[in-house]
């Protein structure tokens, strides 16, 4: 029996937002483990707390309570700069609306996270970018601006950008929400292929029931609690 190590462990994570005079309990004590190489979906309706959880996992938001470890690192004790460093090295993001920089071409968009990795040589950087773009099947579009690509192609660019730093964890926030059904399946196929090929842990949140059958693990969240 293969025992996967826990890449991420959340214990009793709570998060409350204040909206005007109203307190909204987005997360009410989340306990979660994600293992290396896992391909998981965070499923929940709108307002269930899945985006908040994803943001906390991506270290771009802090919980009010609880503990969060990544490997043997206590993430919540890190400074803002250390968290940035962690994100750059170990976490990749894929957003629903792609978040590509419109003035940069495909190659440059993928290159973005590597711009701050000063230890990489130019050659190494170039090779990584080309490899990432090739992995998502956009080798022929290197110098195209994002607005010349279809939605599916843009999301592939976002995937390439997330993978170019060789992260341990990829977080995708409803990556197929803006795509049609055929493209959605292609993107999921691609993510699964990359998961197998690169042994990267994938967690994407969705409320698209069609996708659920395709993932190894479904994590259901409702009213800020994993059920």
């Amino acid at each position: 029996m293969i025992v996967f190590m826990a890449l991420i462990e959340l214990k009793n994570i709570k998060k409350t937002y204040t909206l005007g005079e109203t307190q909204i309990q987005a997360l009410r004590g989340i306990n979660l483990q994600l293992h290396e190489g896992e391909f998981a979906a965070l499923i929940g309706t709108s307002g269930s707390g899945k985006s908040t959880l994803l943001h906390i996992l991506g270290t771009i938001d802090d919980p009010d309570e609880g503990s969060f470890t990544m490997g043997d690192q206590n993430v919540l004790s890190l400074s803002e700069n250390e968290k940035s460093y962690l994100r750059n090295k170990k976490i990749g993001f894929i957003f629903q609306s792609f978040h590509l920089v419109p003035v940069l071409n495909i190659y440059e968009n993928v290159e973005l996270p590597l711009l701050i990795q000063s230890h990489l040589s130019k050659k190494e950087r170039h090779e990584r970018i080309l490899q990432s773009i090739e992995n998502v099947g956009l080798k022929d579009f290197l110098h195209h601006p994002p607005n010349k690509l279809s939605g599916g192609q843009r999301q592939r660019v976002a995937i390439a950008r997330a993978l170019v730093t060789h992260p341990s964890l990829i977080l995708a926030d409803e990556p197929t929400a803006n795509l049609d059904s055929a493209t959605t399946h292609k993107i999921v196929d691609l993510l699964m292929e990359l998961n197998t090929m690169m042994k990267v842990t994938f967690l994407f949140c969705t409320h698209d029931e069609k996708l659920m059958s395709r993932v190894q693990r479904q994590i259901r969240i409702q009213d800020g609690v994993i059920i």
Binding site: S51, T52, H55, G58, I60, D61, E80, N81, S84, Y85, L86, R87, N88, K89, F93, F95, H99, V101, P102, V103, L104, Y107, E108, E111, L112, P113, L115, I116, R161, T165
Partner: protein
């Protein structure tokens, strides 16, 4: 791609805004440079007028108290022959530093055309002063054209027997002396004239001779005939009514003395004046406790220059302040809009691992590029504007001046460079701190921002 390249591409995101922001900076910078160029030209012209035309020299030596009592008690406050010998000995080691070293005698008295007597203020100078000073490089560079052309004739080509005298235009008019010694067709025979008769005015206007009356050093009154050999201007209206200039030897003869009022020094390298102030002045003060070394920027010897220069400096400072504030506000405005528009992108950058510092420098780079390009074009505009102004031949009368002077702009490369760097630095600091403040919000909020 490097971060500078990314910054440049971000500037092209909204070209119209970048161009308008850049133009605002370029125009402000052009205005500042042209204004400073004008101030620089005026300051230099005033300095050269003081140094060369009003005989302040780069520095001069006087007896202490000369400014207060030199004209009323000239004998006590002049440099006698012993002083002059000791001064020659002291300055001998520095002879190679001087473009010219020359004595000057100044005095007061009455000048008369036979009918009318007016007070005069005479400067007696060695002929070499008139032959050499127009050759001084800074005089050639900065003196306005009229001062270089005028006077067309000086006393240098006349014998002492003629007592050649230069009289200012205004004083000549007051004395009704329209012709000069050389231009008088035939000198009218000397005769007694009836000053009450209107017809005698023409006779007076054709006669270039005048009479000088002064109190000599020996205590009595001395008078002499003199001939107006040219008309000239000293550049300042308040001196143009009373000033005359003649050869030193004749002036000393009129006052019956070998003393001089001041010893004037013109430096070969005008920039060495600070060296003289810091190094030579203390030695001089130790050696000559009763004498004083007065530099041209001393308000006692160049009141018009120092007063105007400090006024112009204040204006320049104010202008720099206004330009600095305008550029800062322009940058703040442009940067704020840019940050607000790109908050989602900032969130993405943060999610990709950019720290706040790195993002602040990225925006800083954008603003530095925009400002540098704008300032570069501003410098080009400045050169073009200065060229157009100088080529236009416009003239104006500055306050206190005795005539028109051309409107000229002399751009200072040093000022262009320093202000360029200062504004670039200012923009970098402003954009860094503004960006840092603006982006210091939760990343998930930035990403959610629509």
């Amino acid at each position: 791609m490097e971060l500078w390249s990314l910054a440049f591409k971000n500037l092209l995101r909204n070209p119209r805004r970048s161009i308008v922001t850049g133009l605002a900076i370029a125009i402000g910078y052009t205005g500042l440079n042209v204004f400073n160029g004008y101030v620089h030209q005026v300051e230099r012209t005033l300095a050269i007028t003081s140094i060369y035309l009003n005989h302040a020299g780069h520095f001069s030596i006087i007896k202490k108290g000369w400014f207060e009592k030199g004209l009323s008690k000239p004998r006590l406050f002049s440099l006698d022959q012993q002083d002059q010998t000791e001064l020659s000995d002291f300055f001998r080691p520095y002879e190679n530093d001087f473009f010219l070293k020359t004595p000057i005698f100044t005095g007061i008295g009455l000048i008369s055309n036979g009918c009318r007597s007016l007070p005069f203020y005479i400067k007696g100078l060695e002929r070499i002063y008139r032959t050499e000073t127009p050759k001084a490089p800074e005089f050639i560079k900065w003196a306005v054209l009229e001062f270089k052309r005028d006077p067309k004739e000086t006393y240098i080509s006349f014998n002492d027997d003629d007592f050649p005298l230069m009289v200012t235009y205004n004083l000549s008019q007051l004395l009704n002396k329209k012709v000069t010694y050389k231009n008088a067709a035939s000198l009218p025979p000397s005769r007694i004239i009836d000053c009450q008769k209107e017809s005698e005015k023409e006779y007076l206007s054709k006669d270039p001779s005048v009479q000088l009356l002064a109190k000599s050093f020996s205590g009595g009154f001395a008078a002499t005939d003199a001939n107006i050999v040219s008309h000239y201007t000293v550049g300042f209206s308040f001196l143009d009514d009373i000033s005359i200039e003649g050869p030193l030897s004749l002036t000393q003869k009129l006052y019956d003395t070998q003393s001089i009022s001041r010893l004037i020094f013109f430096l070969k390298n005008p920039n060495s004046i600070n060296h003289w102030k810091s190094k030579i002045l203390p030695l001089f003060e130790k050696r000559f406790p009763k004498l004083e070394m007065v530099f041209f920027d001393d308000p006692r010897i160049s009141p018009f220059y120092t007063g105007s220069a400090s006024f112009l400096d204040s204006l320049t400072f104010l202008f720099i302040l206004i330009a600095g504030i305008s550029i800062t506000l322009t940058i703040i405005n442009s940067l704020t809009i840019s940050i607000l528009e790109r908050s989602k992108e900032i969130g993405t950058f943060r999610a990709l691992g950019f720290t706040n510092n790195q993002l602040a420098w990225l925006f800083g780079r954008e603003m530095i590029l925009l400002t540098s390009l704008s300032l570069f074009f501003g410098a080009l505009f400045s050169v073009m504007t200065a060229f157009l102004i100088n080529a236009s031949g416009l003239e104006y009368i500055p306050p206190g001046a005795s005539g028109n002077i051309p409107l000229r702009v002399s751009l200072e490369p040093q000022f262009l460079f320093i202000s360029f760097c200062s504004f670039a630095l200012l923009v970098l600091i402003v954009s860094y701190f503004l960006t840092k403040k603006r982006i210091s919000v939760n990343t998930s909020r930035l990403l959610a921002d629509s």
